[in-house]
Symmetry: C2
Subunit: 193 residues, 2 copies
DNA sequence: CATATTATGGAACGATCAGTCAACAATAAA
DNA sequence: TTTATTGTTGACTGATCGTTCCATAATATG
């Protein structure tokens, strides 16, 4: 009832996401966000709350639209290791394809806001843990299906891949060449052999 | 000649370093720095310039006092791989021993300020390249001394270890337990076998 | 059409930001 | 002891920060 919003909340949330992704939390001003989202102050604060609340909603949306959908592919039946390989290299290619090399919003957030903004950084850590668990599940399945040697430990390897993925994000943001990043990912993945 | 400074520039630079290390670049205010360094504004601006220049000097000091000294140990003669192993686990233990889990100032900087503050982030990237080169030198030496298999490529492995180290920093800031971090480092290091 | 409800737009708020400046203090050189 | 030079101190600046608020506009309901 009453006057309807003139904007789509998810759409403008995406706009906000790209600003935070590019500049990080602190360096992004409400002014930046208002401009990018093409909103006035009242609409933004009424709909999303203050900067912190908006950022938390942006993190949620980032996970839903960009992370979760890809991770959920890992849980589909079928050969596990090829799927895992496809996931990892898809992530790497995706991050390299971004001309701005913004990396990953979650990793950026943990690195910028831990340890002095524990609430927000903690949310990022939770997401990473979920990623590790997704890796664990597919590696456990790979082992059960005989794709992974019986001497390999899925939990250890899941942590290794998670660490490697975060390190790859750092190297991409640091400007490493696409070739070296991909070759390094290949080296890391070879640990599953 | 004339009136001498009442403070030791290196000492107060260390104080500034710890503030930036804890809160990052943007979240650190000049007020924070003045308090920690126990200086007045005039002294700070006269001695170190503005916030950006101060931060660049802090990065230099961080590299000189905390990074460079440890990396230079790698170039000393003797068995290479044990030295490399000692370096990596020393780094990991050191980062884990920090009760605040501040990670590494260089990695923090690259992650916070790339891509929107290219000057500062670029300086961080250079430092990472130097680290990779130090890894390369000791791995090349390890190969020459027969400690590393002839099928192993020092440059590829140097990039792998660099990536792994950065990932480890992320996981430490994300709050991973000391045990899992160390076990993951062990897994990564096993790639040299 | 009248009324209640929600959205919009923008002025305005106090706080804090990074940075400047000038009066004053302390030392070295003459 | 005088003078030149540098350091210290804190008040001050204009800009920008995140946030609030209210008059106005638009829609849904009765």
């Amino acid at each position: 009832m009453a006057r309807p919003k003139e904007f789509n909340p998810d759409e403008v949330l995406d706009k906000a996401m790209h600003v935070f992704w590019h500049k990080g939390y602190e360096a992004t001003s409400m002014e930046d966000l208002l401009t990018a989202m093409d909103l006035n102050r009242g609409s933004l604060y009424d709909t999303f709350g203050d900067k912190r609340q908006l950022f938390l909603k942006v993190m949620d949306r980032y996970c839903t639209t960009l992370v979760g959908s890809k991770f959920s592919l890992l849980d589909q039946p079928g050969p596990a290791l090829p799927k895992l390989r496809q996931f990892i290299f898809g992530m790497v290619e995706g991050a390299l394809a971004d001309p701005q090399r913004r990396g990953c919003l979650i990793a950026n957030t943990v690195m910028e806001l831990a340890p002095h903004e524990k609430d927000i950084a903690g949310k990022g850590s939770q997401v990473m843990k979920m990623g590790e668990d997704a890796f664990f599940r597919i590696l456990a399945r790979a082992k059960a299906q005989g794709e992974l040697g019986p001497d390999k430990d899925p939990r250890t390897l899941a942590r290794f891949l998670t660490t490697m993925m975060q390190g790859t994000i750092v190297m991409i943001k640091a400007g490493a060449s696409a070739d070296t990043v991909k070759q390094t990912a290949e080296t890391a993945f070879s640990i599953l052999d």
